[in-house]
């Protein structure tokens, strides 16, 4: 059987044109996906059923027992952290926010270690955004700053920019100019018309210099800024000003480097400056397929996009204090529920260490490095493969993930609602 027009649940491009071949409850082939997408459909290392860690090793336990114990642990905890959420659907994220409120816990998503700083900057100076369709049909100058789309979002160039023609861009490969800014050469810099190779940590200064030039204050720019020559800066500013429609994409080269949200703020203000001459937009290259979804869901439920602390009986948001890495590094939480992510692989060791001293429950289809710290792991269906639901693309467009097969696993929503129901029966936290 071939299931057509399937959405890929790997990265936030959410490519919606996959054909998935399914035979006897297994995916046997995927057309149109990139390497990363096909791998996600084809790999099959799922955990069979719920497990509990004991002194002598790993023990199978019934689902019922796993759910009951999780509810008890959440209820007994004084400061539980509910973390992850970028690899599941909006419905599960919503169930997670309700659960966090009920137990008076902190809920945070992988956002805090990817585009959290972008959100902080957007809260300061706004977001000149657009849909990817606009970029595809209109953009004649595209900037990728501090990101490597060829590796992290492999079809971004072929679906939205360099390799795809648009309504107003008839011959994209010739007409679209590509500017890439990075501290190292990558497969993406290889295809660019203009490569800005800057020194590590030089982003803020280079963006600032471009702003000055666009504003007409180019005389203050020295011969070289963070490894980039004055000539190149003027050339790029000129290219950007002459664009009919410019699209600025950026990745973790800006969010994870010193300056963090100040780098993004500078990028947004450069786009603002360019909008005095022509039309420019800016889009964060969100990573996980539904990390943006968490920010949407959490915002419409609590007023804040991530890092929400319910311990005061109301939503409190203070990144740097209520964000997962900080909570763990301060050894503040006394229980952790991890859903659809892998903090043990992605957090600094100092934060991971605390997971070893508190009860951890993980909802994830696969054994991952956080499994090493889990007291209980409940394998669930994979959103977009054997569970349906809503996901938000990097430009904020919600799309419906499809269920292409049934493997008999419960989905995140079912498990989370069941945990919440148990806690409700127990009288709440």
């Amino acid at each position: 059987m071939i299931v057509r027009d399937v959405i890929c649940p790997f990265c936030a491009c959410l490519c919606d044109d996959l054909d998935v071949h399914v035979e006897e409850g297994r995916v046997t082939g995927v057309d149109n996906a990139c390497d990363l997408g096909s791998h996600k459909f084809m790999t099959d290392h799922r955990m069979e059923g719920p497990v509990r860690r004991t002194a002598s090793g790993w023990q199978d336990i019934p689902l019922e027992e796993a759910i009951r114990e999780t509810a008890e642990l959440l209820q007994a905890a004084e400061r539980p952290l509910l973390y992850g959420w970028s690899g599941t659907c909006g419905e599960a994220q919503s169930a997670g926010v309700h659960l966090a409120e009920r137990v008076g816990g902190i809920i945070d998503a992988t956002t805090s270690v990817c585009h959290g700083p972008s959100i902080l900057a957007i809260q300061e100076v706004g977001h000149p955004g657009c849909t990817l369709g606009q970029v595809k049909n209109r953009a004649d100058v595209v900037v990728y700053w501090g990101c490597n789309p060829q590796h992290a979002h492999p079809r971004h160039l072929s679906r939205y920019t360099t390799y795809t023609d648009g309504f107003f861009v008839k011959n994209a490969f010739k007409e679209r100019r590509l500017i890439l800014a990075d501290i190292r050469g990558t497969d993406s810099t290889n295809v660019a018309d203009e490569v800005v190779r800057l020194q590590p940590g030089g982003d803020y200064a280079v963006l600032g210099a471009l702003r000055a030039i666009v504003r007409g204050k180019g005389d203050v720019v020295p011969p070289e800024v963070a490894g980039v020559s004055r000539e190149q800066l003027f050339r790029i500013a000129d290219l950007c000003k002459k664009a009919r429609y410019g699209a600025f994409f950026f990745g973790m080269g800006l969010t994870q480097t010193a300056g963090k949200y100040k780098n993004i703020r500078n990028a947004i203000e450069l786009v603002d400056e360019l909008n005095r001459h022509t039309k420019w937009t800016l889009t964060p290259m969100r990573g996980h397929f539904n990390v943006y979804g968490f920010n949407e869901v959490c915002t419409w439920m609590t007023g804040y996009p991530y890092a929400v602390d319910f311990s005061r009986g109301m939503a409190f948001y203070n990144p740097g204090e209520t964000t997962a890495v900080d909570i763990l590094a301060r050894k503040e939480c006394d229980m952790c529920l991890v859903v659809a992510s892998d903090p043990a692989a992605h957090f600094p060791a100092e934060a991971v260490e605390h997971l070893a001293s508190i009860p951890v429950v993980q909802l994830d289809p696969f054994p991952n490095l956080t499994t090493a710290f889990a007291r209980i792991q409940i394998p669930v269906a994979v959103s977009g493969i054997d569970a349906e639901g809503t996901a938000y693309r990097m430009d904020g467009v919600p799309l419906r993930l499809r269920k292409v097969l049934d493997r008999g696993y419960p989905d995140d929503v079912t498990i989370l609602s069941e945990i919440a129901r148990r806690i409700g029966e127990g009288g709440g936290a």
Partner: protein, 127 residues
Amino acid sequence: MILNTGRTIPQGNSVEFKPSPEYGAETSRAFLAPLDLMDMGIEAGDRVRIRCGSRSAVLTASASDDVLPGSLFVPYGPHANHVVPAATHGTGMPDFKGIAVEVEPTSDPVRSVWDLMEDLGGKRYDR
């Protein structure tokens, strides 16, 4: 030297199954400028220890012209995170890029991802 971490295709391909040898191998690579390798008197395939404060990790060196001399690139994962400090400077985001580290040749072996997790108090999932 300056340590930068980031995503790569092999890292992304194996990210859904982190206990795999491919994931461990990819995330324990250190890409260095050929000149820096020469300065340290080592070749691609030899091992280096990176150190930041009291934490360190052993990685396999690779030569890359794409990396600026004085810096090294390590695919995002548990090996690099073994030395990345947890401080977020009030932003929630640790410095995953631009970290000052010491790099020296070593003959110690590269640890497996499960070894790293056990060092931090975890228990390998070996079923």
